[in-house]
Subunit: 363 residues, 2 copies
């Protein structure tokens, strides 16, 4: 017992792992008898009980009430995810499913993320989340205008991350096709690479000067550009497969469920959490490790999608604290590998090796 100060005995590890696995599968507290029957550790249930009592004392297990089985504590899950978990190998079927669905969606990042989170939800049977994080500083790398009618054109902006945004623009004074083309040029010369904060009055005035007689449209457009940039700042989050949560008994309490759904609706908390993360590997947040109040018996696992050193998106899984971490980690890794392939270049998808490291981040 003294020598266990700095680590768990092999037997304790085996018991803890068995308990976590059993609880992940069944959701019920696990008793010594069950362990006895399902593990070969050549000792009696009484010994197991003793070990369990010690594991509880050490903080890895909890007892829902005086005479129930044991349930893994938050610390127990942490230890499990960090050291005990056995890597889950995706089946060829799953890999094929990923490839097929994502291949069909080669396109804008938004759609890829959405499809991926859907897929993640399907494969893991938990709730999937697709996130475009808030970013401190997006800028626009290219403007284009599309003339429609004398008082009506479309402003298209390509952002530094490659996303394309557009807005209809209506102006008071009629403009010509040539004018809106000149406008695009002017915008490209003065506003590219600037964040919302950097669009200052002098810059606006320069742009207006360049447009000469047609300066009146500039004000309207700048306002729209500004709004566009702030929109991009806001981030976005979409949820898929909420219905899957309901199959887990931890969410059969309506109050709890309502709180959780509320958090998913509000989006802010999770969006913040993901946007602030600096871990580019897989993030695993178990229960109260995250500041999001509601998560107490839930867990959030997410993987940022990084492009040129910048986090441009994330896919995640939300589920009960006792989720099947092995499967979730493998799924998110597989998916993010494929997404990386797609966005870095439109090269052929081949399901190759994307062992994206199994880094975990507690709190």
């Amino acid at each position: 017992m003294n020598l266990e100060k700095r680590g768990l005995s092999e037997r304790k590890k085996q018991i803890l792992k068995a308990i976590v696995n059993a609880h992940i599968e069944g959701g019920e507290p696990v008793g010594s008898k069950y362990i006895l029957q399902n593990q070969q550790l050549g000792c009696s249930s009484a010994t197991i009980r003793n070990e369990m009592a010690e594991l509880e004392e050490m903080g890895y297990l909890e007892q829902p009430h005086a005479s129930a089985g044991r349930v893994p504590s938050e610390l127990g899950y942490r230890f499990y995810v960090d050291t005990l978990i056995e890597r889950y190998a995706m089946t060829t079927g799953e890999i094929a499913q990923i490839n097929n669905l994502l291949k069909a969606k080669i396109g804008e990042l938004d759609q890829i993320l959405l499809a991926a989170s859907h897929l993640a939800s399907n494969l893991t049977n938990y709730t999937g989340i697709a996130i475009k994080p808030r970013v401190r500083s997006v800028s626009i790398s290219k403007f284009e205008t599309i003339y429609l009618e004398p008082d009506h054109f479309i402003l298209v902006a390509v952002t530094s991350t490659g996303a394309v945004k557009s807005k209809h623009v209506r102006v008071e004074r009629a403009v010509t096709q040539a004018t809106v083309a000149r406008l695009a040029t002017a915008l490209n010369e003065h506003l590219t690479g600037l964040t919302a904060d950097e669009i200052t009055l002098p810059i606006i005035m320069e742009t207006e000067a360049q447009m000469g007689a047609d300066a009146s449209a500039v004000g309207t457009v700048i306002k729209i550009v500004y709004g566009l940039l702030s929109e991009l700042d806001e981030g976005e989050m979409r949820v898929s497969g909420i219905d899957r949560l309901l199959q887990y008994p931890e969410y059969s309490d309506v109050g709890q469920l309502q709180e959780l759904l509320g958090t998913l609706e509000k989006k802010d908390d999770i969006l913040d959490l993901v946007s602030r993360s600096e871990n580019e590997g897989i993030n695993v947040l178990i229960g109260s490790e995250s500041e999001v109040k509601v998560m107490n018996n839930s867990a959030l696992v997410f993987k940022p999608i990084v492009q040129n050193g910048k986090t441009v998106g994330a896919i995640g899984i939300l589920g009960p604290r006792r989720m099947d971490y092995a499967k979730v980690l493998a799924t998110l890794e597989g998916l993010s590998g494929n997404i990386a392939d797609i966005i870095h270049a439109n090269k052929q998808l081949n399901g190759g090796d994307h062992n994206g490291g199994n880094e975990n981040n507690g709190g």
Copy 2:
């Protein structure tokens, strides 16, 4: 009793209305005693009981069990919505809220619909739905290309409904800025106004011919255009405020709730329903009136957004069958009026009168 064959007596109407109102508010079966105390109809509870028994026989009321109060049947709600409902006037506060939020979102239809459904959910305290219906035939009215790198440009398409879609395009053989500009011209000349089905091989060949030496890119782009058109065909549906459902006791049964959430996740059923609707007024679907299985104790109210005679979107409310129809109808009407203002022209919002007719459509 004979003369009631073709209509309900005034007293029956009053009783029915009182029962529906009471049940909408409380969610509990309503008894004769309650009616006696809350309505001035100068008769005893025994008489009310008799009337209630007859209303039940006629199919307007139901009894959950032998000795409970009465609950409105589906037919009862239908009758209520069609003839008994009292128009609800939006408060100035609500009108102001609508104007402020929508004003801020002047932009693409998607965003307006999303904001509106959010708002509808907030105002009514039920779940809001924003829908872009499947449409038989979308075409593209204008193409534009944005050159980025020699093997990489962006294709922007403006659809016949004014929506803007874009796709990144990567090509094998390097192209110049001039080439992508010519490509846009070629696409505009050959593909505008065509639906996905109408893009035939001859047309493709003509386009390729026009591009001469750069024909190789045409194939890639056509595939993308095709995908883009089918995407537009698919329709879209976004849900907001699911958490609000949980406050109503009819959704405290996990099984029921799961089915409902499943329907909302799948989107297909509701999307079909809305896409196929030909009623441009407010549609009210109560319980099993819709083919969507799950709705049995739910109701869906939605209002198409029509532009140039075409349904370009819809906003809706999903809630318990006993929802506050008066409020829901008023809210959707108010919102759709404002949306119409915004999309028809960017004229100033003024919260003016949009009495969009109170048409109802039973199954």
